[in-house]
């Protein structure tokens, strides 16, 4: 089977996965106690108002009727309208997604660069003080509460040293003119290099906070994978031939060791997209995690359903890309 067939098959497999997702999400959010109409109108609402709102939101229909209406709308590309803001979800979700993309990509780049290298060096100098230090740090990193880390970073790097701003994406006194909503790109398009630096500085602390856990996981994975590969015969042969140690490690070993690492990177990138909520909250970033979170607290069904659906879709796509990358890196891998 060639690559194209493989991709098509994988894309077709997506359909039942996403359909299942919509169904589960649909059922779960309706199982949350609390009538959305009552939640929206609040403690002081009269019963008539609640009833009228339920009707206008279509909530008085049986759940399966609501579900099939929702599916029907999805097929036409309609993700529904937010109950709270009365704006279509397709329209309002992009700025939130863009914020999260920018942050996640920044974070995953940090996590990969630092994590992979720390893992390699640890494996190379196994049982050295660097190895011990790096692995202890990685253990701390995996178990670090982001909430605490974020606030400590704000205290140290913003309040004490004044290196980075505490919260937000930009300096609101000199706001970025949004075009793509990816501010790093927007500022460059407009030639505002001063703003580019400001936006970048806003990304550093949340980026590091978000990168901590994936970085640690990637480092540990790389180390164990490298240790295994470096014990193999072809590495010994390469070294016996007098190849420089650096090339043995970074070229011969890494190529075979990177496959499991790649899987972890793929999974972690997907998790960052949906799981940046804590980071987004502490650093006041309007990302998609916060969008869905606010949807949940106001029982905004369309926002929750469509938000989770989009994040799930991206997650599945990233993993597809990773699967395809396997064969690019290691031609021995065939898709059957």
């Amino acid at each position: 089977m060639n690559m194209l067939q493989y991709i098509i098959r994988r894309l077709l497999q997506l359909i039942p996965v996403l359909l299942g997702m919509t169904f589960i999400v649909f059922l779960i959010i309706r199982a949350i106690p609390g009538d959305p109409a009552l939640v929206i109108l609040g403690q002081q609402a009269t019963e008539d108002a609640v009833a009228a709102l339920r009707e206008s939101l279509g909530l008085d229909e049986p759940w399966y009727v609501q579900y099939f209406q929702y599916l029907g709308n999805l097929l036409t590309g309609d993700l529904g309208e937010s109950i709270r803001t009365r704006t279509p979800v397709n329209e309002e979700i992009w700025p939130y997604l863009a914020t999260t993309f920018e942050l996640s990509i920044f974070a995953i780049v940090i996590a990969v660069i630092v994590g992979v290298n720390a893992g390699i060096i640890s494996a190379w100098f196994q049982n050295s003080w660097f190895d011990y230090t790096a692995m202890v740090l990685a253990l701390v990193g995996v178990s670090m509460p982001i909430f605490w880390l974020g606030l400590m970073m704000q205290y140290q790097f913003s309040l004490q040293w004044d290196w980075f701003p505490t919260t937000g994406r930009e300096n609101v006194r000199d706001p970025v003119n949004a075009i793509t909503n990816l501010y790093l790109i927007d500022t460059l398009i407009q030639g505002r290099f001063d703003q580019f630096v400001v936006v970048l500085k806003h990304l550093v602390m949340p980026g590091i906070a978000l990168a901590t856990i994936p970085m640690a996981i990637i480092a540990r994975m790389t180390r164990s994978s490298m240790l295994e590969v470096m014990k193999s015969d072809y590495i010994r042969t390469a070294r016996a031939k007098g190849e420089k140690m650096f090339w043995v490690v970074y070229k011969h070993s890494l190529k075979n060791a990177i496959i499991p690492v790649l899987t972890v990177i793929g999974l972690q990138t997907g998790l960052l997209l949906g799981g940046a909520i804590l980071t987004e909250t502490i650093f006041g970033l309007p990302g998609v995690g916060r969008y869905i979170y606010e949807g949940i607290s106001s029982r905004d069904y369309p926002v929750i359903q469509s938000g989770i659906l989009i994040v799930a879709f991206i997650f599945v796509m990233i993993n597809l890309i990773v699967d395809i990358l396997y064969s690019v890196i290691d031609p021995r891998i065939r898709y059957n």
Binding site: V39, T166, G168, F246
Partner: protein
């Protein structure tokens, strides 16, 4: 290279790059501080050094829902619309007394049915339209033809829409260019307070006729001191000075930017670093730190709420007033306020806070006296105590930061007098629903006032008409009911206040509640911020704010 040399190389590489990173960000920060003033921290510092700052950045916990004030119910929306729009009459600077607004003067007929408003001259909307009597009529017409799920506050304050029986407004007519006459079907004493509320702000009639409801929600056009510029959801709302504002003294700053930072500690960090100038939702536990910091100042918002323990009077043994009084004596409110409100609240003795006209300050609250409580229980035939459920709210509310902990304190107070209370909790919406059905023995709850009127507390929360609605204790007293109904149509302010004072006296004796506290929400600002007066309603005027 050997193994050791490589390791050394990597460590050096790491050190050097870290150092470079640190330095480069240091450099760039001073760079743009000098050239464009871009960096958050450098910016504020620079502006205090040089010319006076003229942009106010207000950091808050959440974003607005919509900026068409009649359609919303949330405080975060009113915080913004308050500064874009104006109402016919306005609340006082820090109270809910009635002051001139878009109407300079008004007259009320003897029977309390006709209100005549003389409108202010020379007022224009932000889109250039003149403000006049027709504009007022257009707005009232729009509201009166709405529905409850669209215009929630209109129904709740004026009883209905169009021809509905409960609708209190009969007609709104333009007598001439600058005179509006509003006729009521029956007298409504808090009428002026109602129309001073943020939802009843006057929107440009041109905007009303040209824009759809959805467009109005994102393009507010009013007469207020600030004009709307831009809204990026969850990121910023930008307002700029209205150069044509009728009161040429105001506003003092050129620009106001609202930012949402959900986390309280992060918001305070942003304030300390100078990225924002004013922050609401300050944790009471952070107050001492702010008071000790020379670059910051602390603000207390006057309380317009009450947190209480409701005793469902239809359930044994709370059907006996003696038991309810015993509960009042058994609970140490001062200790609760000190421990869980960090002292940032007033101990409550009445069902409404002291800023509200008609508050009865002569009432002596039930003092904390376990012995007296025991004696009262003895009289009620419950000398051996009893078992009860104590309901604690699952979410923090402005009137009660931590329901669970308050419940635990009450539980231990009650144990001292032999009452065995079991703490129970439900998800918030369910909690309200069940308490409303009268299923709780005793429940923690609270209320934040809408229009600063006594009716909005006493009638809504304790009148027999509202059993099954907001009277969760099922308290019924014909005498109280008569007083509250009489007060609703009494137009003389002093007589009306007298009626409310009598009602509070009766409620105090019947003791359907253990009133606990009136909390004062905290805000903090940079030290050079001047002229900020937090309003009890939670919507603050920002046109008086300036920087030193």
């Amino acid at each position: 290279m050997n193994k050791k040399a490589w390791l050394l190389f990597f460590v050096l590489l790491l050190t050097v790059s870290t150092a470079l990173f640190g330095c480069s960000s240091d450099d760039s920060s001073s760079d743009d501080g000098g050239s464009t003033g871009n960096d958050g921290g450098g910016d504020a510092a620079e502006e205090t050094d040089g010319e006076t700052q003229d942009t106010l950045v207000f950091g808050r916990g959440g974003d607005s829902v919509a900026l068409d004030p009649i359609t919303v119910t949330d405080g975060e929306s009113f915080k913004v619309t308050k500064n874009i729009f104006e109402t016919l009459v306005e609340f006082g600077e820090q109270d809910t007394d009635i002051n001139p607004g878009l109407a300079e003067e008004w007259e009320v007929s003897e029977d309390g049915l006709t209100y005549t408003f003389m409108l202010r001259d020379g007022v224009t909307f932000h889109d250039g339209e003149a403000f006049n009597a027709d504009a007022v009529v257009a707005n009232f017409d729009r509201w009166a033809n709405g529905t409850e799920d669209k215009f929630y506050y209109y129904k709740s304050m004026f009883g209905g829409f169009g021809d509905e029986e409960g609708h209190v407004i009969e007609s709104v007519t333009a007598v001439d260019e600058s005179t509006v006459e509003i006729k009521l079907k029956r007298p409504q004493a808090p009428f002026l307070k109602n129309i001073a509320m943020s939802p009843f702000a006057i929107v440009s009639p041109k905007a009303l006729s040209e824009m759809s409801e959805d467009e109005l929600a994102e393009n507010p056009v009013g007469t207020g001191p600030f004009k709307f510029v831009e809204w990026r959801r969850n990121e910023r709302i930008v307002l700029e000075k209205n150069e044509d504002y009728w009161n040429s003294e105001y506003p003092k700053v050129n620009q106001v930017i609202f930012r949402s930072i959900p986390e309280n500690s992060a918001r305070l960090n942003a304030l300390m670093s100078g990225e924002i100038d004013l922050a609401d939702g300050i944790n009471p536990s952070d107050a001492p730190q702010i008071e000790g910091d020379d670059s910051l100042q602390l603000f207390e918002r006057p309380s317009m709420n009450v947190g209480y323990l409701g005793l469902t009077v239809t359930r044994e043994p709370f059907n006996d007033p003696k038991v309810r009084q015993a509960m009042n004596h058994a609970i140490d409110r001062q200790a609760i306020v000190d421990a869980f409100f960090e002292g940032r609240a007033e101990v409550a003795k009445n069902p409404m806070p002291p800023v509200i006209a008609g508050y009865n300050d002569d009432i002596e609250g039930y003092e904390y006296d376990p012995e007296k409580a025991k004696a009262l229980l003895e009289e009620a035939g419950l000398g051996d105590g009893f078992d009860m459920e104590l309901w604690a709210m699952p979410v923090p509310r402005p009137y009660m930061p931590d329901g669970q902990k308050v419940a635990e304190a009450i539980q231990s107070n009650l144990a001292d007098v032999g009452i065995n209370a079991e703490i129970v909790t439900y998800e918030w919406a369910t909690y309200l629903e069940k308490a409303r059905m009268g299923e709780a023995d005793a429940f923690l709850l609270g209320w934040t006032g809408d229009n600063g009127d006594a009716d909005n507390f006493l009638y809504v929360l304790l009148d027999q008409d509202n059993i099954g609605s907001n009277n969760y204790t099922y308290y019924e007293n014909q005498e109280v009911h008569d007083l509250l109904i009489q007060a609703q149509s009494e137009t003389d302010e002093d007589t009306r206040n007298q009626l409310y004072m009598e009602a509070q006296e009766l409620i105090h004796q019947d003791a359907p509640w253990v009133p606990l506290a009136h909390s004062t929400p905290l805000l903090a600002g940079s030290a050079n911020l001047q002229g900020f007066m937090p309003h009890p309603t939670g919507s603050d005027w920002l046109h008086t704010v300036y920087f030193e």
